[in-house]
């Protein structure tokens, strides 16, 4: 009879381990997908912004080869993104590089594959190599003919290191959870054995052992699951920060364009509709605030209240744990006129899981 209980405990342990690995694996995949999606959408947002700027210049009647601002746009982009190796624009017909952040590349021809991949208007192409990833976006003229291609090369080290960290976190927590389960199964077996000596009635001892083990298991699972999510979120943090800063920079540029063109900062037309649009495209963003120099909110999209704590004694406002806030100053021609604040809930993947 005792050996039968032991077999049950072993079987239960094995089943538990399998379930744990599936569960942790699924969570790892969700966090890994979130990390990739944060990076991809950051790259896409920034490249689309560059593409839009070039296309607007072309709509103004300047040929792609003659846009004087292009180099400025490319260098600004490369300076703001640490993982960028080079950014270039090539002519679709000849494949010749027209502008590049790497001076030596200008005038050279791009690989034929890039020309082929960039032939599809409106679609982003991605080519992954050992050390770098190439992302390209067609540049269309005002009659929607593909005139050139905007290409950026990115280092992949950071992506790989985030993935490796996530894999090791996943293994560590899978082993921890598996160990807890196995220990639970054997505890159950042990307490069943011990309680048989204390409580003579079979009914009582099975209930007590069951409730005790269930409690221990649930507590251990909750603590470990939270710790696992926390570890994954720590790995995600750099991607969240980079993406939020990119969006904050984009919103700031947009507002500065209006302000420098003579629109009064306090009466920008349809600002909130624009902020809502940005938030809809980037689901992880909780709120976007545009404030004046003193911090008074002028425009708001989303709710910021749940991200902040107010100290009742001092009235001081502080950001709660699990939230990230990126701030960019808005300047007119001479000085700062206000701030763009973007808040992200760093636990957005965990909230999706539940």
């Amino acid at each position: 009879m005792r050996s039968q209980h032991l077999t049950h405990a072993v079987l239960a342990s094995l089943l538990w381990c399998a379930a744990v690995f599936v569960f942790v694996g699924m969570n790892f995949m969700k966090y890994e997908a979130a990390s990739r999606s944060l990076r991809d959408s950051r790259i896409e947002t920034a490249l689309t912004e560059l593409q839009r700027a070039l296309q607007t210049e072309m709509d103004k009647g300047v040929p792609l080869t003659g846009i004087k601002k292009t180099e400025g746009f490319l260098f600004h982009y490369a300076a703001e993104n640490e993982d960028v190796l080079s950014v270039m624009v090539f002519d679709r017909k000849s494949g010749k590089i027209l502008f590049s952040t790497v001076a030596a590349q200008a005038g050279m021809n791009v690989p034929f594959v890039w020309r082929e991949k960039c032939a599809q208007p409106g679609t982003l192409f991605v080519e992954t190599q050992e050390q770098k990833e190439t992302v390209g976006l067609p540049v269309l003229n005002s009659f929607l003919e593909n005139e050139g291609c905007l290409v950026a090369e990115y280092k992949t080290e950071a992506v790989k290191s985030v993935r490796e960290k996530m894999i090791s976190s996943a293994f560590y927590f899978a082993l921890r959870l598996a160990f807890i389960g196995v220990a639970g199964c054997f505890l159950l077996y042990f307490f069943n054995f011990v309680s048989a000596l204390v409580f003579k009635e079979k009914k009582v001892r099975s209930k007590v052992t069951f409730v005790f083990c269930l409690f221990v298991l649930c507590a251990a699972l909750y603590i470990n699951f939270s710790a696992m999510c926390q570890a994954f979120e720590t790995n995600l943090e750099p991607q969240i920060r980079l993406k939020t800063q990119t969006i904050a920079g984009q919103v700031k540029n947009m507002i500065e364009l209006a302000v420098k063109s003579g629109v009064p900062f306090k009466s920008v037309n349809a600002m909130e509709a624009y902020l809502d649009q940005v938030r809809q495209k980037n689901k992880e963003i909780m709120f976007i605030l545009v404030t004046d120099k003193t911090g008074r909110v002028l425009y708001e999209s989303g709710t910021a209240a749940q991200a902040f704590d107010t100290d009742m004694r001092t009235g001081k406002i502080s950001l709660r744990d699990g939230y990230y806030n990126a701030a960019e100053s808005v300047n007119d021609a001479d000085n700062a006129v206000g701030w763009v604040q973007i808040g992200v809930n760093e636990r957005f993947v965990r909230e999706k899981i539940f």
Binding site: Q55, D59, G61, A258, A273, D334
Partner: protein
């Protein structure tokens, strides 16, 4: 040694045999005959740049009318004699003079020579072609005006107008067409059209002195926005219209860029001439290189319009375009900071 001689002989033989074929294309470039209204401006440059970038072997002959039509018959004879591979015309007047209207005869006066026009505002309404998609002659082209429906839709994003005013020359065909189109869209887009034809003087000419009075009538009728259409008379006197409208804080939006750039109209949705020329170049490439017939290529305008906003006018009236439109706009006359 003997083998080498045979090889040499065959090489020389092959070279001379293939010589005419190898250089046939280089020897006979395709001929493009261009009739320009006022020299080679932006649209013409766009056209030439496109052909240059496509590396097509073409010989371009440019004829400049210098804003006069007295050379037309000589040019028509020249085209008939030289029989180019493509005839290109610039502007409505030069195009109508060179190609005639479709009602005058479905057959081109140049036989098989295909024609391509650019910078023509209303090819159907002017009788050049019966339809933009299919027509009876071997003609295609590029229009430079943004479709009125698109202009109105964009304008609504800037000013959600209920009453749109227009002051126009009742004797001008283009202006009459614009008013007819506006009436059509007024019922579809649910706005009231307040039309004010400019009264004619004793010589049966529109009287520019009445424009200020007409603007004040529109102001009394609480007009939200005034449209300055493709109307030569009103465009000549646009400063009077815009100054009067600004005095009543009524914004003016224009079909052409000049009113925004030089005379403080608030905004316009336009296609730049360079782009129009490039699009014409693309159509020429299709005809010359791909041998597609002109009547198989639709007459169209570029798909993406450019919003041009006069920021000084915006500041005066206190109406600014929405932020999402500003990023793709050409913001001009930016006021200096006080």
């Amino acid at each position: 040694m003997k083998g080498l001689c045979v090889k040499k002989f065959f090489s020389v033989f092959l070279f001379f045999f293939l010589f005419p074929f190898l250089f046939a294309e280089a020897a006979s470039p395709l001929k493009v005959y261009m009739v320009l209204w006022n020299g080679c401006e932006d649209a013409c440059r766009g056209f030439l740049d496109y052909l240059k970038s496509s590396r097509l072997n073409v010989e371009i002959v440019q004829r400049n009318l210098d804003k006069k039509t007295d050379q037309i018959s000589a040019l028509i004879e020249e085209v008939k004699e030289t029989s180019p591979d493509l005839l290109v015309t610039w502007g409505t007047l030069a195009t109508l003079e060179m190609l005639g209207t479709e009602n005058n005869g479905p057959v081109s006066k140049y036989g098989a020579v295909p024609a391509l026009f650019m910078v023509v505002s209303q090819p159907v309404e002017s009788g050049l072609v019966s339809s933009l998609v299919s027509q009876g002659r071997n003609i295609t082209g590029v229009m430079h005006l943004v479709a009125l429906s698109d202009q109105l839709q964009y304008a609504r994003q800037i000013i959600p107008f209920k009453r749109l005013g227009i002051i126009y020359n009742p004797t001008e065909t283009n202006a009459q067409i614009a008013v007819q189109q506006l009436k059509h869209y007024a019922s579809l887009m649910n706005f009231d059209l307040l039309e004010k034809p400019v009264p004619l003087n004793k010589k049966k000419k529109p009287d520019a002195k009445t424009i200020t009075g007409l603007v004040s009538e529109l102001a009394e009728a609480k007009t939200d926005l005034i449209y300055l259409g493709p109307d030569a008379f009103m465009n000549t006197n646009r400063k009077i219209l815009i100054d009067a409208a600004t005095a009543f804080s009524i914004p003016v939006f224009s079909a052409s860029e000049g009113a925004v750039r030089h005379d403080n109209a608030l905004f316009a949705f336009v296609h730049r001439y360079y782009t129009v020329g490039q699009m014409a170049g693309r159509k020429a490439f299709k005809m010359l290189k791909d041998k597609i017939q002109a009547y198989d290529i639709p007459i169209e305008s570029p798909q993406r319009a450019l919003l041009v906003v006069n920021m000084t006018a915006a500041q005066k009236i206190g109406i600014y375009p929405p932020l999402s439109l500003m990023q793709n706009a050409d913001l001009i006359n930016i006021p200096e900071k006080e």
